[in-house]
């Protein structure tokens, strides 16, 4: 009944989502533990890509600093795990650095609720503060992007420098248990994989809702002409801040999941290179489409691990070639390929329609 009232594209889209959901939920049945763990990591990356697409693809603001938000989420989770792994003892790296008591800001991270909230809210807050000083003063385009890079350098330097509090270059690692279950056991891994799948769908639904709402239309309007938006009475700075903050929160969430799957977070995972890589997932998947961002993160990371396994010496060249091919031939990313094919298909259908043959779409 409901299906009959919907346009055919919508039915296909829903069918596509359902198929993707089914495939992701069933993946543990076919994949080895090792592959499943990799996929779980890629799905966490896909959450970052969704957030980046919201701010870059839809609002037109390029952030090369999402590694920081990702890292903050990761550290929040790692701090919780570390405190609970030690059984009340001081984390090892603090011992080595000569600390005798737990620093005050580490204490609340003993609670999982606090750690999870902090992992999402701290990146959001940082994004709000950065957004407040930049968007209000109409700093945009490449200047904003450079500032996000500066944020990365400052944060990474700070984390490396404060070794006693952050674990320095090594980061926070050496923990193995969540609620008493070993993080390395296949059952826990499978459970965490499903958690990630559910959260990815949650993040996707949130972004989809936002993008389809009037808020999303205003974001696209800001991308098209920020000044014109002002003259119809919207304050673009507020919209940009909120979009940037949501985007950062998603990156934080992804960082937490990453730590659960990988078991380490260090400054090198929040640096300049990972921040740029995150943007590439979106660029290659297709910015301005949520499905494209998710697909980009999964495909690109799969390609990266496949190339690096088969061609350990020259895999980076393959990655470079892939970027060049996509940028030159698919400026709208992989998702753009679908709409290009659709357009060709529609043209064909239109030709047939002219001959008096019309196919019902379903």
């Amino acid at each position: 009944m409901l299906l009959r009232t919907m346009p055919p594209q919508r039915i296909w889209l829903l069918a596509g989502y359902a198929a993707a959901a089914a495939a992701l939920f069933c993946a543990p049945l076919v994949l080895s533990d090792f592959r499943l763990n990799l996929l779980a990591k890629f799905l966490a990356y896909a959450i970052v890509a969704l957030g980046l697409d919201l701010i870059w693809g839809y609002t037109g603001i390029l952030s090369l600093g999402h590694g920081v938000f990702f890292g903050l989420g990761g550290y929040a989770m790692a701090m919780y795990l570390k405190l609970n792994a030690g059984g009340g003892r001081l984390p090892d790296f603090m011992d080595w650095s000569g600390l005798t008591a737990l620093p005050w800001f580490w204490k609340p991270f003993g609670s999982l609720t606090f750690a999870v909230l902090a992992g999402i809210l701290l990146p959001m807050l940082l994004a709000l503060v950065l957004g407040y000083f930049t968007f209000r003063n109409r700093i945009r385009g490449v200047y904003f992007t450079i500032l996000t890079q500066a944020l990365v350098i400052i944060t990474v330097t700070l984390f490396i420098g404060q070794q006693a509090y952050t674990g320095g270059t090594n980061g926070v690692t050496g923990y193995g248990k969540l609620f008493g279950y070993s993080l390395a056991s296949p059952d826990t891994k499978r459970f965490l994989y499903w958690v990630t799948v559910v959260l990815l769908f949650g993040a996707f639904s949130l972004c989809r809702y936002l993008v389809k709402s009037r808020f999303g239309k205003v974001l696209r309007a800001i991308r098209d002409g920020e000044n014109r938006v002002r003259f119809i009475g919207y304050n673009p700075a507020v919209y940009q801040k909120v979009a940037f903050s949501i985007s950062a929160g998603l990156a934080g969430l992804a960082g937490m999941l990453f730590v659960l799957h990988v078991g380490i977070i260090s400054p090198s995972m929040m640096g300049i290179v990972p921040s740029i890589e995150m943007v590439l997932w979106v660029a290659i998947g297709g910015r301005g489409t949520l499905g494209g961002a998710v697909l980009g993160a999964i495909l690109l990371n799969s390609a990266k691990s496949a190339f690096s396994e088969s061609y350990p010496d020259i895999w980076i060249l393959f990655m470079g070639a892939l970027f060049v091919v996509v940028v030159v031939f698919l400026p709208k990313g992989a998702a753009g390929l679908f709409s290009q094919l659709k357009r060709v298909g529609r043209r064909k259908a239109a030709d047939e329609g002219a001959n008096g043959v019309r196919h019902p779409a379903v």
């Binding site: 936002l210 709402s213 009037r214 808020f215 239309k217 205003v218 696209r220 309007a221 991308r223 098209d224 002409g225 000044n227 014109r228 938006v229 002002r230 003259f231 119809i232 009475g233 919207y234 304050n235 673009p236 507020v238 919209y239 909120v242």
Partner: protein, 261 residues
């Protein structure tokens, strides 16, 4: 000096705009009454567009004040606050949102709560849908409601922007050369629309097309080198020697060269 037909809705007092030492507008006085259709004319560089920029907040004046409605000082307000108070602006080149559909352009322009969270929750109500449909019909874009606005012709974009401004329901409309690039038919249609709008709202139009200005019996303000030169009916203005000298004479040449082009 002041007309007594309606209350003053906008007053500019001694407005001076300084662009790094160049005074684009100098001590300009200007007042607009409710329901008035005012034309702002003058040769290139006279400061007409800059005056509109000052009123809508795009440019902050170095000196002077702009008072709106019951005397609200809008000189230091931000653009979006001025727009919310009820001053709409149409720019010289059509500035619409090309990646949004025609319908979506109208949807976000429509008068509504402009807060972030209101926009997240906003649902298109039936009366809103009907208002947008009525606006689409008025500007003749019903057939193209689902088009991306970027695919419209120049004239259609102008119309779309006028429609967006009307949906904003401003008390004052500032139009910068609304008929530029329009065909004769479209120009005529715009003229009719202006006559209709002036019944409920006040309008300021910057215009170069003298034929278009002449077709309205309304007050004309002539600017020259950032200053007020003359204010009055079109006949008064045309009879004024200074105006003929600085403006109409030159325009006639320009018109001649344009018609041969």
């Amino acid at each position: 000096m002041k007309e007594q037909t309606g209350s003053v809705i906008l007053r500019c007092d001694e407005v001076t705009v300084d662009f790094d030492g160049f005074k684009a507008v100098q001590g300009m006085n200007f007042s607009l009454t409710r329901g008035e259709l005012r034309f702002l004319i003058g040769p290139n560089g006279a400061g007409k567009t800059t005056m509109l920029d000052v009123i809508c907040g795009k440019v902050k004046p170095a000196e002077g004040k702009v008072l709106f409605g019951g005397g609200v000082d809008i000189t230091r307000k931000k653009e979006h606050q001025i727009a919310e108070l009820g001053i709409g602006r149409k720019f010289q080149t059509p500035s619409i949102f090309p990646s949004l559909t025609v319908f979506e352009n109208f949807e976000i322009a429509m008068k509504q709560n402009r807060g972030v969270f209101a926009a997240m929750r906003a649902k298109l109500r039936r009366e809103e849908r009907e208002r947008i449909a009525a606006q689409l019909a008025l500007v003749g874009l019903e057939e193209k409601a689902a088009w991306r606005a970027g695919g419209l012709s120049h004239g259609e974009k102008q119309w779309l922007e006028i429609g967006m401004m009307l949906l904003q329901e401003p008390e004052i409309l500032l139009l910068d050369e609304p008929v530029a690039g329009m065909t004769d038919g479209e120009t005529e249609k715009t003229g009719e629309l202006l006559q209709q709008i002036r019944k409920t709202q006040s309008i300021v139009v910057v215009e170069h097309d003298m034929e278009f200005v002449r077709s309205f019996a309304s007050k004309v303000t002539v600017m020259h080198e950032g200053k007020l030169l003359k204010e009055g009916s079109m006949e008064d203005v045309q009879r004024d020697n200074r105006v003929t000298e600085v403006y109409l004479g030159k325009r006639r040449d320009a018109d001649a060269s344009r018609s041969t082009a």
